[in-house]
Subunit: 347 residues, 4 copies
Amino acid sequence: MKAVQYKDVESVMVGDVAEPTINTPDDVLVRVTRAAICGSDLHLYRGHIPGMAPGSIMGHEYTGIVAAVGERVRHVQVGDRVVGTFHVACGACQLCRLGQYHQCSHGGVLGYGLAFGDYPGSQAEMVRVPWGDVNLRKIPDGLPDEKAIFTGDILTTAYGAVRNSGLQPGETCAVIGAGPVGMMAVMAAQVMGAARVFSIDRDSRRAGAAESLGAIPVDSSRSNPVRRVMQATGGLGVDVVIEAVGGPPTLALAFQLVRGGGRIAAVGVTAEAQWAFPLMTALTRDITFRIGLANTHRDIDATLNLVAAGRIDPTTVVSHRLPLESAPEGYRLFHEQRADKVLLTVG
Amino acid sequence: MKAVQYKDVESVMVGDVAEPTINTPDDVLVRVTRAAICGSDLHLYRGHIPGMAPGSIMGHEYTGIVAAVGERVRHVQVGDRVVGTFHVACGACQLCRLGQYHQCSHGGVLGYGLAFGDYPGSQAEMVRVPWGDVNLRKIPDGLPDEKAIFTGDILTTAYGAVRNSGLQPGETCAVIGAGPVGMMAVMAAQVMGAARVFSIDRDSRRAGAAESLGAIPVDSSRSNPVRRVMQATGGLGVDVVIEAVGGPPTLALAFQLVRGGGRIAAVGVTAEAQWAFPLMTALTRDITFRIGLANTHRDIDATLNLVAAGRIDPTTVVSHRLPLESAPEGYRLFHEQRADKVLLTVG
Amino acid sequence: MKAVQYKDVESVMVGDVAEPTINTPDDVLVRVTRAAICGSDLHLYRGHIPGMAPGSIMGHEYTGIVAAVGERVRHVQVGDRVVGTFHVACGACQLCRLGQYHQCSHGGVLGYGLAFGDYPGSQAEMVRVPWGDVNLRKIPDGLPDEKAIFTGDILTTAYGAVRNSGLQPGETCAVIGAGPVGMMAVMAAQVMGAARVFSIDRDSRRAGAAESLGAIPVDSSRSNPVRRVMQATGGLGVDVVIEAVGGPPTLALAFQLVRGGGRIAAVGVTAEAQWAFPLMTALTRDITFRIGLANTHRDIDATLNLVAAGRIDPTTVVSHRLPLESAPEGYRLFHEQRADKVLLTVG
Amino acid sequence: MKAVQYKDVESVMVGDVAEPTINTPDDVLVRVTRAAICGSDLHLYRGHIPGMAPGSIMGHEYTGIVAAVGERVRHVQVGDRVVGTFHVACGACQLCRLGQYHQCSHGGVLGYGLAFGDYPGSQAEMVRVPWGDVNLRKIPDGLPDEKAIFTGDILTTAYGAVRNSGLQPGETCAVIGAGPVGMMAVMAAQVMGAARVFSIDRDSRRAGAAESLGAIPVDSSRSNPVRRVMQATGGLGVDVVIEAVGGPPTLALAFQLVRGGGRIAAVGVTAEAQWAFPLMTALTRDITFRIGLANTHRDIDATLNLVAAGRIDPTTVVSHRLPLESAPEGYRLFHEQRADKVLLTVG
């Protein structure tokens, strides 16, 4: 079968590889229909994440049709149209049983190298899904794969961050970053009842796109976002900040935007081991800070319902639709920031 | 000043009465700009509620400008544009201090007769607001009185019922009744993240109006609403039902629509002292049932934020705008079901 | 093997029956170590519940050792010491996946007759547990079976009711009925932070037993419980009522004890199909009412932790410990109200 | 009147000063009955906090009798026995109206110098309480001042931290530090339903005191607390950590003790402006971190109820009871770590 393989830094190829097989009684094989290139795939592409051997199959966002199931599988059957979670969990360890699937003792990320379980990825014609009962969801009738695919990763990541922030209906929210995850956070904040959502980005085109979703755009290349937000909130700051960029500058910005007693949820992936946390500010202002990988399994049923009902349309972030064979071009465009989100059509 | 006065069953008049004065250090006088006729005013109009003496001033939905404040008042000042809560609370008793303002030991309802505190109503050029610090909110700049007025009663009543139901984002909700409160419940359910909202009414025009708000209309005069909802939910029923009609038939319908483990919140005012509660059904299906007057004070800040931000437009339910002098006509139209919601312009 | 079999109204026997076998890949066989007679077993014993064929094995409260597992079972293995949930759920239907195990589309109650799935009961030397992965929990090391057994039914039933009531730390709670479930509710309310717990029973011995657990006893045969509670709460009533008797009189009492805006959770099993719900009182006082079978699966991990840590000692309700062979005597004593709770030692 | 006055670094005196007077209509004068020396008073005593002029009256923990009220005061009256919150809030600003009293735009701390509002303290025979309606609570009948005093500061601080952590009944908690605040956190965690509470301190006497409250003592001077906690939790870590020491070493320890997906609430006051936050660890393990001054007003009613009902006895931390005149000795003993908690008897 055809699959997108890692070759070298800034280089992927589409090669022919053996089809996967059912290896354990919990495995499910899925014939892939859509795969997407995630912002986190760029970390691999750029060589920032060790442990990706040449020839490894990439990708962790996908939809497809169940082609085969192991003998212990109960929840899906051959022919089901499904979406998979980017992170796979065993469903049986102590943390999974607490509902903390993203902290699974045996889990990993599809197509993300040795440090993440060494699972072949989903940018391929077929993918083997470990613990298929846990890591697949049936797609509701009438919901296109192209919309469902986002519930397996970036929509649910953003949604989970907003939920983790404890946003209450009627509150005000600032989302830092208007890339695909930031846009999803804008949509999630709206669906959870935010009165006003500020979308902050230094790219005026992106800020404008957020405006078309109903957010208040703040082009940080032209105006000071702290001043803008303080003016709009009577000097108070926002109840909630979602940080969707990653790294110290935007984390620091989050603490400047939030009101006393407010909450910051960070989803921007970063490489820093440590960060100069504003301890005294957080102490006197009573700030709650949470940063963490998404617990996709916790929230995917809700996001599937919301997308199926038309409350959220995640395809607004798609800039390119390409066949699987053109994945190398998709990676290049994305790497050069000429694409926002690339969907690959498979089969 | 001019005021709408109760005369007799099915009869109100606009008469000249003395302006109210500051009687206690907590009083606030408000020069009324808008008043609305509430569905519950019809109960008085029809003579269903005892204790309304001829000559009493009616009305409990209003906006206005603060004209005078008692010496203990801190939170509003002369000139502030304000909206009042239909129910007044003292803010100091044990229940108020628990945040249960609707259960205030000294409270009442403006313009609702002896049993509700014997307070003169707000369908007048000026109204005295007891405990003004507790029962008034400043209207955010830029928000028209016409939109703010609904936060003092029916919008917040509906919003509170949805909140009381524990509706979670992604869940499915049925709203029974598409009158003004039902329509507000549809909007509230959407803003709190309902994936799908069914609006059930036996009036096809009303059901259609709900559809224009994004709800799934169910015309119960033409099709069985239980069958419709079961078909649409895979035979499961909805997570949450908001009952916004009142009385045994729609309460019974609520128990038929809700899924096992689901929740029913009823806001429809009813005159029955008792009701044949389906005890065995509720026991085996684990149904939570709540019926109660709204705690407007708890939720009005959130609804003001949401209306000010344009997330909810409550004026969609307004069918008539009349000058105060035409209040008798407004009552008649509403009584004859030829009006959905009547706004009175004052001054 | 030996098993307690239903014979006729007010008659059970211990007979020899064939050992169960693994019938489906999800089955688990458990060699029983402890079984208990539940208050709800008396409904069968007294012939109030149809569908119990003579010869059927009774019982749904048990602990034991896993003796065999079907090929799809992942979470328990042979030799594990386990406690089972009284209600069995499939874990795979739509309601189970919502976490509503007590509403499972395929579930039932062990040893409770045709209407509840026709499953042989656990008052036997061996029991077949359907969907063993879902319906068994390992018992923490060091926790005796005799304490663990209660987490499979009455402790978790009571705990779930208190949790459903939304009791907050510092609130005041009244528990109606000081039978085994009522006593468990007292302990659960305390562990969830109730400041004061009133235990109301017309049996002075039972009320006294609740006092030894730290509750404020109210002997309703000697004093009016409403007056007592009102005196102790400044005329306000309690925040939360747990009704643990069943039937109209105690349900009505619950509405008299609760404060405005308060919550009632009923766990008393009753046979009435309908009940004269105090609609007007609930409307004006904003009362939340919930009655329902327990979702044991939701709360059993918490109760196991609490019992293992010594925060709750459920054995305080045990009045009799008998060998399995003496089950007929145990039923008789319980039926004649000469026993509070009977534990059967097996093997 | 007599009052404890700041003199110089490590020096306080009891002097004669003018009695306070009602300066604003919201003021209340309280004749003090008990005052306590808080750990945070030592920061002043040691000269770590600038802005304390010689002669300033110290102290912010107190109970007393209302001696006079301003004309706008409604909630307390002359003769009421009251406890005050250490932090005073106006009750009227935007943050107060959100319930964020600890973030009040006009607030401060009694007896804590210029940077905290320059309010005279409560270690005196009489104290003026600004916005008395907001910052005083009546003490329930039968509850001694000596127990009530802790609800105005350290008990409610600790309780609030546990509540902020989102601790659920049945979870496991580690409290770092067994000083007075740590001991209060142990009691609060228990009352909120923690199954197991580890109390970690390098002083074996303190760890032993926590054991007498039911905690599992971990003497960190003798054994590695991370190893101890991991052994006791199957290598998982605790659900919740309460950090009650302050400063980088114990903050770092908190991240080592908590399980993936867990929560840390820090109440230890610290002087560091910044701290090397373990960003990558928090990201991959999804840790929620909150540090902040307590919102005493939010939780004091609950803690008063719990102490009045005997569920919490905060006096277990009191090591010394001295007359007001001996305050200099009390400060010295506390400073030299020869006292745990000093209560001053006044009048």
